[in-house]
Point group: C3
């Protein structure tokens, strides 16, 4: 299969996802050959994201490639009034692949139209972050040998969390049983449910207050962070950040009746929702999940750079 | 020929320029060998310049070299009161070549005196930017097979634009016919004309309002950006930025009587002076010009680093 | 010998120091082989330090390794509230060794406990900066063929200067005769003297005003900078920064009766305490000292990365 750009998980068919997950396996060891020697990756982050950037950088460098790295506020102030289109037309003369993160939805799409070289979306606003979804799927498949039919709980901020929206859509392709476990009033939005309904996804809606009853059913417990900066003031007495902070904690005792094979995932950073005592349990998979980000990004870089030659 | 530093285009003879342009040709393909393996370039930008920095970085990395990259405000605040001289004495212990951009004229010259390793000027204030001039000359020679005797129009801000000053001086060495096409009152300054007169350069002075009559004569139309930040307020009713913005646009219809072989260049970024509709015409050379920056900088890095060993 | 982390000079025995100094010699030439090919170093600077960072970067890159570089304010703002522990748990998934500088004492120690990969302390607050001490020792040994029994003057800010505290402790292991030559009231603190007394160190206390009489006895004159930012206001008429600035200058005439073999060292940057006229004398060793920083850091990176495999 051939890939030029990786912009949205919705552009990629189930067959293509399976191909990427299979292709990634060969990068899942410490073999760090020099297959991308002489290749240059331009990393353009209009919005900060330490770990996504670190992960792409590490993937490219471990494969022998070089990185041109530009971050805000450098980039915008320096492009001196030119359009994103022109900035990309410039960058494509200096690099072989562009990694872009931008707060505006559609920025990565525009970049892929401007560039003759491959563009990979490293997150655009609240919309798409396809490589996060691919590494989540890879992590699940690596743990269970399959994705199909698993019981997967998505927990925390289901309203604003880009990660769970994309992941839920993708899991629907695999016939998973989804459990949406919201905190406060941070429910899965209407438009995501509509996509899921189109795909005949099986899902149930719950509240974190009832998580003890749901955990025994789950294969995967996918926790997410509640972002203080996105949390509205609520003078009317409804849920607010401090209240959520006191409720939304996965205490070890909640896992008493969990399956032995339960895996806890989290896109990180965590704040308070997973206590450190969970780290050393057999359930904790979140740091391995971070490692898998490098694995999948190596595969994607290789696919768009080398396989297309 | 041997080169240690590249500080000013005026330090370099016509024979040396020809040598550099010829030497650059071998880097003008996708061959990216590892000839600068183990070499380290220190990139010190006291003033931001995305594309010059990107271009040098890309050149060094494609040739297998490594880059130590420091930019403002990091560098100044960190050198903790030491002089530029001492900063350079430090950096030369960590690197094999220094690329420096500084807003003060003469900073690159001072750096070359402090350092025992080669120093390349990546722009100092409104004075010199020699690698830009070399890539412009390379672009012209690559398109026409020669530079001598061509008709070249320099358009836009001729008063404050460092690029056109250096380029005009260099083109005078090749007996080009120069057409200075100013916008508003942004005329070629006296001191540049004096250099040109010394070199017996042939030049005419025009206004952008008359560009339609001049274009048919030209082989190269070299456009430049009018920089809002350098534009003075003009309460007396003379030209101001907004007025220039409405006048200074190279509409496609202006090219109706152009030579088939006309090439439009621009050091980029453009703002409004070249509409996007020009991009897909046979005349547009500005994005290729950006690529040539990497080519010429590869040649220069190789010349100062490897040929001198 | 095997090393995982380099956190404090006090963790390292005299035998281990000797081993490191001997091991470093092989890196003290321009041989830049690719022995760390495919290895990735994460450079995390919570506090700025141009030259330490440049030095580690250069060492890693010259050995063929790659660098993931994150500096403030990027890093903190991006880790979005997570703890240093979690940040390190993340970074260890992307890199093979972590270089950390943090203003809090103990941060590097905490990082080494969190990480399964080696951690090297690049300075924590006013506490430890072990690689600086090692490069100072290496520089002395390289110049004199030995460290034992030399007469070494430590000059300047003995109160707040981390460098002289660690160096004095280490020199005590070699039976050096130490001369503490303070400026103003910036004396060697009690707790350092206690460590020295435990080690039966030989030391004398002097004031910079008497330096002319002491210089003839010395093999090494180790100057340090008085940091304006750490200097308290002194409304009571005691020493202040401006007064020190006028007194604390190593004029060339002070060296009239120095030994021929005297070497002047300085961790750099200097501000005013060493006039430029000293640079070209046979005494000046401070720029070579900076070069030795790259040598010793290459040795340390190789020791923790490759020798442990």
């Amino acid at each position: 299969m051939r890939f030029k750009d990786i912009i949205s998980i919705n552009d990629i068919t189930k067959e293509e996802i399976d191909f990427i997950l299979d292709y990634s396996e060969q990068f899942d060891n410490s073999n760090r050959n020099e297959i991308l020697n002489g290749k240059v990756m331009a990393s353009i982050f209009f919005e900060p994201s330490t770990r996504t950037r670190f992960s792409f950088d590490s993937a490219m460098k471990q494969l022998g490639g070089k990185v041109l790295s530009f971050s805000e506020p450098d980039f915008t102030s320096l492009t001196k009034g030119e359009t994103l289109w022109d900035s990309i037309k410039m960058v494509e003369r200096y690099a072989d692949v562009i990694i872009i993160r931008h707060k505006l939805e559609g920025a990565a799409r525009l970049a892929s139209e401007a560039a003759n070289i491959p563009v990979i979306n490293a997150g655009d606003g609240t919309n798409q972050h396809p490589t996060q979804t691919l590494l989540d799927l890879y992590t699940i498949k690596k743990s269970f040998g399959k994705i199909d039919g698993l019981n997967i709980g998505l927990v925390g901020d289901l309203k604003l969390g880009r990660t769970v929206h994309s992941l839920a859509s993708a899991l629907a392709l695999y016939g998973c049983n989804l459990f949406f476990i919201k905190v406060g009033n941070l429910e899965m939005p209407r438009y995501v449910l509509e996509i899921l309904d189109e795909r005949n996804a099986k899902y149930e809606k719950h509240d974190f207050l009832d998580i003890k009853e749901i955990i025994p059913k789950l294969d995967v417990l996918y926790m997410t962070r509640v972002q203080r900066e996105r949390f509205p003031d609520t003078p009317d007495g409804s849920y607010d950040y401090e209240k959520i902070k006191s409720i939304y904690v996965l205490n070890k005792s909640l896992l008493n009746n969990a399956k032995d094979s339960l895996k806890i995932m989290h896109p990180l950073p965590r704040v308070f929702e997973i206590p450190k005592e969970i780290d050393n349990t057999k359930y904790a998979l979140y740091f391995d999940q971070a490692s898998n980000g490098v694995v999948v990004r190596k595969a994607l870089l290789d696919l768009v750079l080398r396989k297309n030659e």
